[in-house]
Structures are given as C-alpha cells and as structure tokens.
C-alpha cells in the first residue's frame, strides 16, 4: 500500500522533468517514427500522473479519464500514426527548417519562457509550479513544431503535443473537467487525427509529396 502511495508521490514529483526530457528529445529527433514514440511516451507519463492524482485524490472520474487516455492517446493514436507512416512509403525523416541543435536550444528557451509566463499566476493558482510549466512548455513546443516542421505528419504530431499541453494544464489546475467534457474532447481529437490522416493521403495522392510548406497555390 505504502508502495503505491510512494510511487504516486514519485510520479507526481518527477513527471514534469520527464516531460521536459521528452520535448527536448522530440526537438532533436530526426525521424518521424521517433517523434511518434516520444509522443506515446509523453502520453504515458501524463496517464501515469492522472493515475497518481486519481489515487491521491480518490476520484473515480480520474481513473476513467486515465483509462480513456491510455486507450486513445497512448495506444490508438500512435499506432494509427505509425501505420500511416508505413502506408505512405514516403521518406521518413522530419524535414525541419531548423537544425536539431537550434531546435533544442529554442525548446529549452521555451521551457524558461513558460516558467516566466506562469509566474504571475502562481499565487492565484497555488498549484505545483513545474508541472504547470511543463504544460505550458508542451503547448509552446507543439506550436514550435508546427511552425518549424514542414512534413504534414509532423504538424499533426505538433498539434497533438500542443493539445497534450492544454490537457495537462487543465489537469493540474482543475484536477480535470467534468468527465463527459473530457471524453468529448478526446473523441474530437481522435476524429481530428483520423481526418488529418485522410488528408495526408489525399495530399500524397494529389501532390506526390508531404511537404506542406510547398502547398502555396492559394495565396493573396
């Protein structure tokens, strides 16, 4: 019993650091599949955290959410994404407009920024500072990935990371929203990923490439 509690405490304590590590690695990653794995790991960490919180606060809802999280984000979405990667038979490297080193630097800068950003709200919120910072970091990193990675799939992943951040923020600040809302959000996410996958194939079919930065016929 004590052991579980101990684990929960540890998880809550260390999850932030782990999340920082995942985003840094994601920034450095050269292959899409790696990013997918990292994303899966990220979601796993968050799930673990939810479980821990559920345990600490004794809230059945949180367990349910954790369950959905596990099924949808940790298993389904990463699997679907890597399936797409397989199916596309397209070059699998992330074509970034910044070198890995630069990316890492930028992301670490973003981490600092997020600490700076939440500063003024801390006294209002009274929550675990570095987890909230991690959440903001995820949001910012997601945004950064979407802007800097030109592969369609990478944009999807960036979006997912961003969404993860928001999800985490909601979690740490409010211990989760009403269950049905959470479920709906996750469902939307699933549908979104599905649609984006569809579009990725359409892009491949119509343009013979996946580089969204080349989609510039419509402008002005």
């Amino acid at each position: 019993m004590g052991l579980v509690h101990f684990a929960a405490e540890k998880t809550l304590a260390s999850s932030a650091v782990l999340l920082f590590i995942t985003v840094l690695m994601m920034a450095a990653a050269r292959r899409i599949s790696t990013c997918i794995m990292l994303f899966a790991a990220q979601c796993a960490i968050i799930t673990a955290q939810i479980l821990a919180m559920a345990y600490v606060h004794r809230s059945p809802e949180a367990y349910a959410i954790a369950g959905f999280m596990l099924v949808i984000k940790v298993l389904t979405i990463p699997y679907a994404l890597s399936w797409i990667v397989e199916k596309l038979k397209a070059p699998r490297d992330v074509t970034a407009s910044t070198t890995p080193a630069q990316s890492v630097f930028i992301v670490s800068a973003l981490i600092l920024l997020s600490f700076f950003a939440i500063g003024p709200y801390m006294q209002v919120l009274r929550v675990d500072e570095d987890v909230l910072a991690a959440a903001i970091t995820l949001v910012l990193t997601g945004a950064f990935l979407m802007v800097s990675r030109t592969k369609a799939l990478m944009q999807v992943i960036g979006l997912l990371v961003l969404e993860n951040g928001i999800f985490l923020a909601a979690l740490v600040t409010t211990f989760g929203m009403p269950l049905i809302i959470e479920i709906g959000v996750l469902f939307d996410l699933l549908m979104g990923v599905f649609l984006m996958g569809l579009f990725v194939f359409r892009i491949r079919d119509t343009f013979d490439h996946l580089d969204v930065s080349k989609l510039r016929k419509l402008r002005g």
Partner: protein, 655 residues
C-alpha cells in the same frame, strides 16, 4: 395640403410600376407620361403653397421604418421642392417625344421607371426632417442616377466614368453620414429639431469637425474643384433630359444639405469657415469656366459650367458665413438670398440649356459644336430659348442669372464694413466674380455663335428641323421663367427672404437692399421700349451675300471654329490648361512641301494625375503589401496566430 403632399410623394414611388405595366402600348405610355407630368405640377403647387404661404406639411413614417423617418415641408424645403418640380415638369414634357424617339424596349421602360424614382429620392432628400430619411434618399439618389446613366448603353470608358462617379459619391456620402451622426450624443432621434438644439450646444471643436465633414461630403456631390472629377464625366453620359435633371437639380440637393447643416442646424461658426468656402467657390468658379471654354462637346461644356455656377453659389454661401461670424446677419441674409436664388436660377437655365442640347442632338445627331452652325434659322424656337438660356447663365441684366449674381456682388461690397481681413477679401471677390462673368460671356458667345449662327458646318446641321411641340414647349416654359425672374425678381425674393429669416436670426432685409428688385423692371421697360422703337423704325432690308473679299463665295470652312474662337483665351491662360501638343510632319521630296502635317493638342486636367492617382496608388500599394503577407505558407499562418496571442498576452502584462 398635407394630403396633397402625401399623394405627391407617394405617387412618385408608384409611377414606376405604372411605367412598367404600360411599356407595351404607346397609348398607355403616353397616359403614364401625362400622369407623371400632372403629378409634378401638383407637386409644384404644393411647394408653391409652402413657399409663398408658408404652409407646412408633415409626413411621419417612423412607424414603418426601423429609424425615425419623417418628411416635413418648411419654407426652405418648400423652396427646394419648388425648384425640383419647376425643373422636372418641363423636363418630363420634353422627355415624352425624346424618349419615344431615341429609346425602345427595355431601356425605355427603365428610363420611365427610374425617372420618377430618381425625382422621388431627391424629394425625400429635400423634405426629410430626420437624418435617416435624408441619408436614405441621399444614397438612393446616387443609385437611381447611376441607373439612368446606364440606360444609355455601356462601353469600357462609360463604365470607368460611372465607376468614378459612384466611388466619389459613396466616399462623399460617408462624410455626410459622419457629419450627421456627429450630432448624436445630443440628438438621439436624429430629428432636425433635436439636432438644431444639439448644434447650438456643441463644442467648437465638434462644430469645426462637423463643418469640414459636411463641406467635403456635400462638396463632392456639388462638384467643387478638386472634388469635381466625376462631374464632367458623368453628366454628359446620361440622356439629355437626365443630364438636365442631374445638373439642374441633383447638384442642388448638395447645396440644400450644406445650407441645412451649416446655417440651419449649426447656425454658422468661426470666420475661417467663410474663408474656406469662399476659396473653394472662387477656385471652382474660375477654373470651371476656364475648362468649359476649352471644350467643344456641348454637354461636357455645360457640365463644366455647372462647376462654375456651383462655385458662384459657394461664393455667396461663404460670404454669408463670414457675415454671420462677424455678427452681421442682415448682410448674411442678403448673401444667402443671392446664393439660394442663384441655386434656383442655375437649376432653371442649366436644365434649359441641357434640353436645348438634347434638342440639337435630336435633330442633328451630334453635340460637337464644330459640326453645327446656322441652326437659328432652322430651329427658331429652340434657338431663341437657347439664347435666353445663354444670356441667363452669363448673368446679363434682365435675365435671372444677373439678379442672383448682383445680390452676391452687393454682399461683397457690404463686406467692406467688416473687420480686416474680411473688409478687403470680400470686396476683392467682386473682381473674381466679374472675371467669371466675363469668361462665361466669352464662352457662351462662342457656343451660341458657333452652333446657331453663321453657316452650317455639316450636312446634319444643314438639314436640321425644329423639334416637336412638347419639346419646344418645355424649353419655352423654362425660358419664360428665366425672363420673369430676371425682370421681376420680387415675386421670388420676398418669400425667399422670409424662408431665410426662419433660420438666420436678425433684422429682416432693408428696403434699400431690395430696391434693386424694383429698379429692374424700369430698366426692362426702358430697354424694351428702345428695342421696339429701333426695330420697327421703317427701314428697307435687302438680302445679299456676305462680302467675301472678292472671292467667288464663302464656304462654312472659312468661318471661325469654336477652337479658333477660344484660342486667344486659351493662350492667355495656358498655365491652367497645360496642353500637350504634338506636330507630326511626314516630309516628301522637298523640304518645304511635306505630304502630311498632323497636329494634335490634348488638355490634361492635372487633378487625376497629381491628386487622385497618388492617393489611389498609396491604397493599392498597401493592399499589395498585405497581399504579400498572405503567403500561402501554412506555417506562416500558424505563426501569425501564435504572434497575435503573444502580443495580446504581453499587452495584458504591460497594460
């Protein structure tokens, strides 16, 4: 009275349906046209009752409209309503045969449907007693006039001109809207009564802003230089009767609006208002007539003369504003009297002239006066009417133009009693007005002399025939108005003075100031008597050929052309025209006998080049920059979103 007014306004908006219904048979069309004419006459009677007897009439439609929407007929409105009807009725009479002859099928139906609507919108404008009603009519007026222009077919150039017209009108309308809405905090319902109260309580800054907006907005409609760009393009494009209405009546609605706001609602303001208006008037007057002189397309020429006359009207308005600012309401009244009377006069003689142009086009199929000549003999009535119109627009005594110009002159002289610098600037304006008059005289001596006198310059002119009775009648009516007002102005002056008294507080006009009105008839009598004596003094008349310096005979090409006539003046004022001349000589064998010499001279009004182009270019350049920001790269788009968010957060942190 009320009932008649309601009937009149309503029927103007019902007639179009009748016109559409009656498009098939000629008979029905004639009936509708007659009905139209009758309605306008009825309107004229209503307006006359309101103008002379001061009977008010109200029509409050607020119950049906989303905004307070009411029409009211006070004396000023009645005056302008009278103006509209007095011009519109003869124009309708004229249009009957004219339209039947020149238009068929859809265009004809459109014409007959849009004419009443056009007039109706103008009636709404001049009788509106709420800002909403005014603006409603104001926008419709532009639309319907555009529609009437479109009736005359379309080409790329026409559409370009129409575009300029509509765009400038819309921008002007925006200024007008702003001007009216500036009254708002004080006058929630935007009824003129409330606005009047608000206007008197308004802070000087607001007043000035309001004045400037009104000045620009209405100036654009009135065609003040440099806002006149659309005028010489739009007016000539329309069918002649419509041109008559646009030039004769539509421009006047702008005068009405300006008087309403600047004098009635605001009750005058700082002296600099007066100076601004005077300057605008002077520039428009002089340049307008100078441009007119250089034209030889009759309708363009007349359009430029509208600019000139608007300038004269604004001279009067400016003087009035100055007098008000210096606390001399009596003289302000006189200046206003001149300005408003000139508004009426211009409406009458300008529409007469445009109808004359229509008649010329009707029987010669050209409006280029270089192609005309000798029409006086072939179209005596048209010629006589046109001559009267010329005399009036030039401002010669015994014709209406002179009466109003004299009033303005007189107020300028009175300016010497004011404080400096008005005491010098106003009298100086007499010079400007005199110059305008002289130039106008030159211009219309050219027009009438070349078009109606001498020998025909083309086969069309040679075989011209007098126009049918209704058209002649219409011109005769308008000509009669010119003469009556010119000889016995008292009939109009007294009620008009009363109308002005309603919104210019101050002592009524001294008898000494209106004495003029009683002197004029005597001069008329003297001149008329002498004319009769000298005309019918028994003299033998023998017809001979013109002396040809011994040549076998003169032909029409030996006459002075319009271009030749205006050459001296164009040379003197070359600075204004900045002509670009091109002489192309294709030499033959010997040096002195080239096979062909071609000479082209184009006049460039530099406003487009120096004023409008740059402004437009700036806007378009901005558009292109924005266009480049819309790169099409999705990552940039996302960046925009993030940046917007970041900006807002920072703003929240530091603001």
């Amino acid at each position: 009275m009320e009932i008649a007014f309601h009937f009149f306004v309503a029927s103007l908006f019902v007639l179009p349906f009748a016109a559409v219904a009656a498009q098939r048979s000629r008979m029905a069309r004639a009936v509708v046209t007659t009905a139209f004419f009758v309605v306008l006459v009825a309107g004229a009677i209503v307006a006359a009752r309101g103008f002379w007897a001061g009977e008010a009439a109200v029509w409050d439609l607020s119950a049906f409209a989303p905004f307070p929407f009411a029409l009211a007929l006070d004396r000023l409105s009645a005056f302008f309503l009278l103006l509209i009807c007095v011009v519109a009725a003869p124009v309708t009479l004229f249009s009957g045969p004219y339209v039947e002859r020149h238009y068929g099928g859809a265009p004809r139906t459109w014409l007959w449907a849009l004419l009443p609507l056009f007039l109706g919108s103008m009636v709404v404008v001049v009788t509106a007693s709420t800002a909403f009603a005014f603006l409603f009519g104001w926008e419709l007026m532009t639309l319907f006039s555009a529609g009437l222009i479109l009736v005359d077919g379309d080409s790329d150039e026409r559409r370009h001109n129409l575009f300029i017209y509509l765009l400038m009108m819309h921008a002007g309308a925006a200024a007008v809207v702003a001007a009216f809405l500036l009254f708002l905090p004080g006058a929630p319902g935007l009824g003129f009564g409330a606005m009047r109260a608000a206007g008197s309580a308004m802070s000087p800054v607001m007043k000035n802003a309001l004045f400037l907006l009104a000045f620009i907005g209405f100036g654009a409609k009135a065609g003040l230089i440099p806002l006149h760009l659309w005028l010489p393009r739009a007016h000539p494009m329309a069918p002649s009767p419509v041109s008559a209405l646009m030039s004769g009546v539509m421009l006047k609605t702008a005068i009405y609006g300006f008087v309403r706001i600047a004098f009635d609602l605001l009750g005058g303001g700082a002296p600099w208002w007066g100076y601004v208006v005077l300057a605008a008037g002077a520039v428009s007057g002089v340049l307008g007539v100078l441009y007119a002189i250089a034209e030889h397309d009759l309708k363009r020429l007349l359009a430029y003369h509208s600019v000139e006359n608007i300038g004269i009207i604004y001279l009067g308005l400016g003087a009035a504003l100055l007098f008000l600012a210096h606390g001399a309401p009596t003289w302000a009244t006189l200046a206003l009297l001149g300005a408003l009377l000139h508004t009426l006069n211009h409406a009458v003689f300008k529409s007469l002239l445009f109808l004359g142009a229509g008649a010329i086009g009707h029987s010669t199929h050209t409006l280029d006066i270089e192609e005309l000549g000798g029409l006086q003999k072939l179209m005596p009535v048209t010629g006589a009417a046109f001559l009267i119109g010329c005399c009036s627009i030039v401002g010669l005594p015994l014709f209406n133009g002179f009466v109003s110009e004299w009033m303005i002159f007189r107020s300028f002289l009175a300016g010497s009693t004011l404080a400096d610098p008005a005491s010098v600037l106003l009298p100086m304006m007499t010079g400007v007005l005199a110059l305008i008059g002289g130039l106008a005289a030159a211009c219309f001596a050219k027009v009438y002399g070349v078009a109606f006198l001498g020998r025909p310059r083309s086969a069309e002119a040679e075989h011209a025939v007098e126009v049918p009775l209704p058209m002649r009648g219409a011109m005769a009516i308008l000509a009669a108005f010119c003469v009556v007002i010119g000889v016995a102005p008292a009939i109009v002056l007294n009620p008009l003075a009363a109308a002005i008294q309603t919104f210019v507080p101050g002592t009524p006009l001294l008898h000494e100031q209106l004495r003029f009105a009683h002197v004029l008839p005597w001069i008329a009598v003297a001149v008329a008597a002498l004319m009769l004596l000298t005309m019918f003094a028994r003299t033998a008349v023998r017809l001979t050929a013109t002396w040809a310096c011994g040549l076998p005979k003169l032909d029409s090409r030996m006459q002075y052309t319009s271009t030749a006539f205006s050459k001296p003046l164009r040379t003197v004022f070359a600075q204004v025209y900045r002509p670009t001349r091109v002489v192309e000589v294709t030499p033959a064998g010997e040096t002195y006998f080239p096979t062909a010499i071609s000479y082209r001279s184009a006049r460039t009004t530099s406003y487009e080049r120096l004023l409008y182009r740059p402004a437009l270019n700036v806007i378009v350049a901005g558009a292109h920059i924005l266009r480049r920001l819309q790169t099409g790269n999705i990552q940039i788009y996302l960046l925009y979103i993030f940046l917007a968010l970041l900006a807002l957060m920072l703003g929240m942190r530091f603001a």
